[in-house]
Symmetry: C2
Subunit: 399 residues, 2 copies
């Protein structure tokens, strides 16, 4: 570090940093970019850009894509964009209404999406089914010329490495889901990870919204369990151990109904799908949120009352999030997205009353855009983070 340019290790580090710089620039671009534009944006010389782009193309991270519109110089230029036939990520999600497997390419495009019912919530049975879905998804992606390199499992509860600490909706406690997954798909040679579904859904929403997503938002995941993915400065807020965002266990009324967690008056007891259903059975073939939506649209009084209770409780809990984190944007996801037209007014009333900064800074509450697939898509899209962390090392490993 004390000067000089001849140290080979230093030169190698510089090459890797420059490669990362160019790759991140291409990641951030929504349209194809020319080599000249890359040189201008990164401050690297044209020969350096030419060499890096060759490496990225050879490694199947980037492709050329016809010509871009003429620049000021007048001559049309060859455009570069992330490859649609290079590495891809596999996302697996365990959710209220079943299991999902999803493959996303480097451009963020969903290339494969499959569902299966969740018949048996025991961990080995769930992982057996997901393992088969993973194999099918990888086969489908390979047939499209993709190479699946990561497998990320979304679970409805706090995780610790591969271990699911608790997932009350599944009845799981201290389940080593990472080991169970690797046992079943180890042969595929994928980098496996396990994360909380709300964190991954927030990742998916940010990825989907691309340049339009705010840097700071809270994604609320409704369903049998309620969770939140909190994004600050464009990055997930994970907390000390990765267990942040336990919105379902924020206290709405300290003397309220008992919650499965042992406490009283958790948001969970007012706004989970079970709480909204209030013991009503749902017809086979209908998801619980679709049933609630139909009843609400019919004007069933007990459903409307339950939704009103849920909306106000959700508003109280979210007001705490906004007061503590200083965030302006809320995305309602999962079953809250499905039911958002019945929830928005109640949520907004509480936020307006309870968030201190609402007096001078507006708050936006929207339904999330990806619907129930957000976590599976977000899980698959983490392949981009995996490669962008060190694209040079990734390319070297492919040789």
């Amino acid at each position: 570090m004390s000067g000089g340019g001849g140290d080979p290790a230093r030169q190698e580090r510089l090459r890797a940093l420059n490669l990362e710089l160019v790759f991140r620039r291409l990641l951030a671009a929504s349209d194809p970019v020319s080599r000249t534009e890359l040189a201008a944006a990164t401050g690297l010389t044209r020969p350096t850009i030419t060499r890096i782009v060759e490496e990225l193309i050879a490694g199947r991270l980037v492709t050329e894509t016809g010509t871009t519109p003429a620049g000021r110089a007048g001559r049309p230029r060859m455009g570069l964009r992330l490859s649609r036939s290079g590495p891809a990520g596999l996302g697996l999600d365990i959710r209220t209404d079943g299991l999902a497997a999803c493959v996303v390419d480097l451009t963020g495009t969903v290339r494969h999406l499959a569902f299966a019912p969740l018949d048996d919530p025991e961990a080995p049975a769930v992982l057996d089914r997901l393992g088969r879905m993973a194999v099918e998804a990888v086969e489908a992606a390979t047939a499209e010329g993709l190479t699946v390199v990561t497998a990320t499992l979304a679970v409805p509860g706090p995780t610790d490495g591969g271990i699911v600490r608790t997932a009350p909706a599944l009845g799981w406690r201290s389940v080593d889901a990472g080991a169970l997954l690797r046992e079943r798909i180890g042969g595929l040679g994928l980098v496996c990870a396990v994360d909380n579904e709300a964190n991954l859904a927030a990742r998916g929403e940010r990825h989907a919204a691309a340049s339009g997503a705010p840097d700071d938002f809270v994604y609320v995941s409704g369903g049998l369990d309620i969770g939140a993915g909190i994004v600050l400065g464009g990055r997930p807020m994970r907390g000390s151990h990765g267990w942040g965002g336990e919105l379902g266990h924020v206290t709405v009324d300290p003397d309220g109904k008992p919650c499965r967690c042992g406490a009283r008056g958790c948001l969970q007891t007012y706004a989970s799908l079970a709480a909204i259903l209030g013991g009503e059975g749902v017809e086979a073939g209908t998801t619980p949120d679709a049933a609630v939506l139909a009843w609400a649209d019919e004007g069933r009084p007990q459903t409307l009352a339950a939704l009103d209770t849920a909306a106000h409780a959700l508003g109280v809990a979210l007001a705490n999030v906004l007061n503590l984190f200083d965030i302006d944007t809320v995305l309602l996801g999962g079953s809250f997205a499905v039911l958002s037209s019945w929830l928005l007014a109640g949520v907004e009333t509480e936020l307006r009353q309870r968030v201190l900064s609402a007096a001078w800074a507006p708050i936006a509450v929207h339904p999330a855009t990806l619907g129930p697939d957000a976590a599976a898509i977000g899980a698959a899209a983490t392949v981009v983070d995996h490669i962008a962390a060190d694209p040079a090392a990734w390319l070297a490993a492919q040789r």
Copy 2:
């Protein structure tokens, strides 16, 4: 960036980075460090270290301090530490029981501390008094050979640049405290800033605890108003606009007592000093928290009941913080530190019941160590951040 070592701008940038590296290393050290140790810790060459240390000594950031104990090589070495007679920071704090002014040197040692009563809470009157205290503090520091370079004002409410959005304890709303401060002490040539008192107190606690402070903790500031400073990864969590940590307005009971903010059942209405006093008058010359402590020690039933209510409400609100942020350590500051022996049990009961991860990860609740001076000390100590952000630029500006 494309290679070569001859570019003068690049060389300058490298020198600045190396200088920062060495300065941060000295900041992090609790004992004097030798040049040899600095070279080993930073990977820089001995001649580079020698040159940088010369610059730091000439700029009064660092001094030599006798010899350090012999290293493995056996020969005692000249130790280096941050200067106690170089730049210093001024902290000003508007708090429940009065105004404080404090000067801290680069080692974090408090070199001056003064108080004044808060007779008139109107902003111009408060700033007049603080302006006079600032002049006295700078004179005292100068007499000790220090050069005060920053002035940071701690206020009990959310700030935006120099503007205090609201400070209910003072009756302030949209007060440009930064401008009022600069009008009064502009002649001193200090870099002025305004920040929330809980954020600055958390900064002070982290600074005081040095290597012992955890990277993630929540500092709770009790008093007429309640706030929180949330530290994640060693850095304050500021949120989108710097208004994070509004713990006083976390909802404890949605149908609870009306709060000054317009909502109902805010923590404020159960656990502020006013709520604990419950309308009782306090003798002149006694601070409200000292009065409450004396009554509790006497066993006054209404005081004990109010403290019990406050403790459980604080526990409910803090459980929300811990569930959302995934933090394990709580420091009770301000009046909560004074009253901590009456609050701890109730707080801990609620946390044990309500924090999901408490089942498998222990939570620590302690009184804060700096007492009522935490915010003033933290405000003064920001001088270190100011210089460490770019020590090369700071040295250049001194020439």
